[in-house]
Amino acid sequence: MLTDFLQLTVAGLSQGSVYALLAVGLIAVYTVRHVINIAQGEFAMLAGLGSAWLVAAGMPLFLGVLVAILTVTLVAIAMERLIIARVKKLTPLTSIILTLGVSTLLQAIMLLAWGPEAKGVPLFPGTNILIGGVSIRSQEFWMIGALVVVGGGIVLFYEKSRWGKALRACAEQPVAARIVGISPVAASVLAFAIAGFVGAVAGVVASPIYLSLWSGGVLLGLKGFVAAVLGGFVSFRAAIVGALLLGMIEAYVAGYVASGLRDGAAFLILILVLVVRPQGLVLKPTAVRV
């Protein structure tokens, strides 16, 4: 009984790590530009399919993964420069419509380039381990590790570095930030670069066991969105906690109730949070904390 519970928890945490990385990307963009990026999940699929293709073409695993992550980061920057930055009066609603367009465009490109079938990156090096009957797959360490290193790195970056503080300033006091010389253009580019980067990292670490599919980004992005809402769309920490909880709840629902209700659980949580507690898991909802 306990073994089963722990097994489900491991699956939930690794799945939740992927949601958390996507949520970090969504929040990074939202706090700086007030853009809800529907294409966040596509970043993950693009990186997964891209690296699967590069590795299949003969590139060493980590080189292929690195190239794919950097390329997707550039795609995110291009999206900011070519589309988001061109809009004079950007409301969250127009941002949804615009990024929806980008999402559809990216899906079409992936479908044309790599076909309709799911593809996976080879497993990253490592060995599966068995502790007290609970089996932990090596790739799950990579997924959780990616969250710790990349997600943790982004949080530290925002809190400790000058650039990170500048981004927070843009989020909290855009006008004042501009007056003291923080470039809103650079802040926006940086935010999209972060979104592309974390989305791509999530996509490549998940691809070996969950596979990548041209149309798979929508649902994945929505799960990240639910996690971001749990973070009130302002707090990385709350969103990461929320994402891990979401992953675990999904695993428990699938294991103990019915696997068909798995995706429904996420959206039920979304509705409940928006109705009952729109600030999500954020404890002090007064200040913007990123």
């Binding site: 041209w214 798979g216 009130g232 302002v234 729109p278």
Partner: protein, 394 residues
């Protein structure tokens, strides 16, 4: 930021994204009377396939096969001098997409016959439309419900019931008495648990647990954790790829350590792509295509299988899958019938009911009662080893 704004925006974002995910709702509905077949001009064959979406690993090779065969046929002068016009519509692996595509093919394209769909769910959605419009339809999916009691609907994939019988016979021979089932939650997996219970009872085998998964699922830990905790002697995983392959991978990685059977839904390369080394040791009933090199020399299907493999790999630089075989058989059964009686719907339907065809998926003998035409002899048992299938029992 303002909380009230998020409250407003969030639902819009979700609804938009869900709409994007493909919840199209429009449906043409209604059925025109069948077009009186003009016995001149091109012969029109429509196909509704799961080219994108969860059924892509089935629909793509089927699309390839039909395109190749239509080209070959027209290059050889068509049927009785009439060209064959093939229209393939992608149903995006959805039921409503399949229904819409069927209505369109019947009403606007005025097709003489429809092939498809790739999976059971979409095929079941097409059945009433084809029946009402009195247009012959040949599905390439498995579940017997597609053709049971039908007038106008036929199918070429081996029935799920005979697949289950084949598995149960092997399980009985090996002394397994308790089975667990992990099945596809869509039409393909419907009724499987009931058949195992019913057919298992005759063999002293009980079904102790059933778990389900969506074909779009990527994580199978919950299902496999439950199976691991059960007292089953062996497990049947019933699905299509990539989900069935991913389920197999999770099964091995979570250390379930029980013998495992799969259905014929995995007879393609996508299974090995998704499952990797975890596929080793899997036993599955399937058609003879994937073990063609191991068949007895006098096997009646050898000639047609070898020819098809040569043609397909020449055209697409890859080996055909069992699903490509289902489409190949559907095409030839259709073309042979049209060649014999033309395109008058009633004559065509009657001709299909007596169709005989030695094909890829088996030796077909259609009758008025049996619109699937294959029995257990169409299946062999194969075991996976290092990315290929070894013939266990013919």
């Amino acid at each position: 930021m303002k909380k009230s704004r998020l409250r407003f925006i969030a639902p819009i974002a979700v609804v938009t994204a869900l709409a994007l995910a493909g919840c199209s709702t429009s449906n043409l509905g209604g059925t025109a009377d069948a077009d009186p077949a003009a016995e001149a001009g091109p012969i029109k064959i429509g196909a509704v396939l799961d080219v994108t979406g969860v059924g892509a690993s089935l629909g793509v090779p089927e699309q390839n096969t039909l395109t190749m065969l239509a080209k070959q046929l027209n290059a050889d002068g068509g049927i009785d001098g009439r060209d064959v016009e093939l229209t393939i519509v992608d149903n995006q692996s959805t039921e409503d997409g399949a229904a819409k595509a069927t209505s369109k093919l019947i009403e606007s394209d005025k097709v003489d016959l429809i092939i498809g769909a790739s999976r059971t769910g979409p095929s079941l959605a097409m059945r009433p439309i084809a029946e009402a419009a009195k247009v012959p339809m040949i599905s390439v999916a498995a579940n017997i419900a597609i053709v049971e009691g039908s007038q106008w609907v036929f199918k070429t994939a081996q029935n799920d019931v005979v697949v289950i019988e084949r598995i149960l016979d092997d399980a009985k021979a090996k002394g397994y008495t308790k089975l667990a089932l992990v099945r596809d939650a869509t039409g393909f997996g419907e009724g499987v648990a009931d058949y195992i219970t019913k057919l298992g009872a005759e063999r002293g085998i009980t079904l102790v647990m059933t778990e389900a998964f969506e074909p779009s699922a990527t994580d199978f830990t919950p299902q496999m954790t439950n199976v691991r905790g059960s007292d089953a002697d062996a497990v049947i995983i019933w699905g299509i790829n990539p989900s069935a392959g991913l389920a197999q991978k999770a099964y091995v990685q979570l250390g379930v350590n029980k013998p495992v059977y799969h259905s014929h839904g995995i007879s393609n390369q996508a299974f090995f792509d998704a499952a990797g080394d975890a596929a080793n040791g899997v036993i599955a009933p399937m058609g003879r295509l994937l073990v063609a090199d191991q068949l007895a020399a006098d096997n009646p299907q050898s000639t047609v299988i070898d020819q098809f493999k040569a043609d397909y790999s020449k055209a697409y630089s890859e080996q055909p899958s069992g699903f490509a075989g289902h489409a190949f058989d559907a095409w030839h059964i259709a073309v042979n019938a049209i060649d014999a009686v033309g395109t008058d719907p009633e004559a065509l339907r009657t001709e299909l009911e007596t169709a005989k065809w030695t094909g890829i998926s088996g030796v077909f003998k259609m009758t008025a009662k049996n619109h699937s035409g294959l029995d257990a002899s169409a299946l062999i048992l194969a075991e996976a080893e290092d990315g290929r299938w070894n013939l266990l029992k013919d």
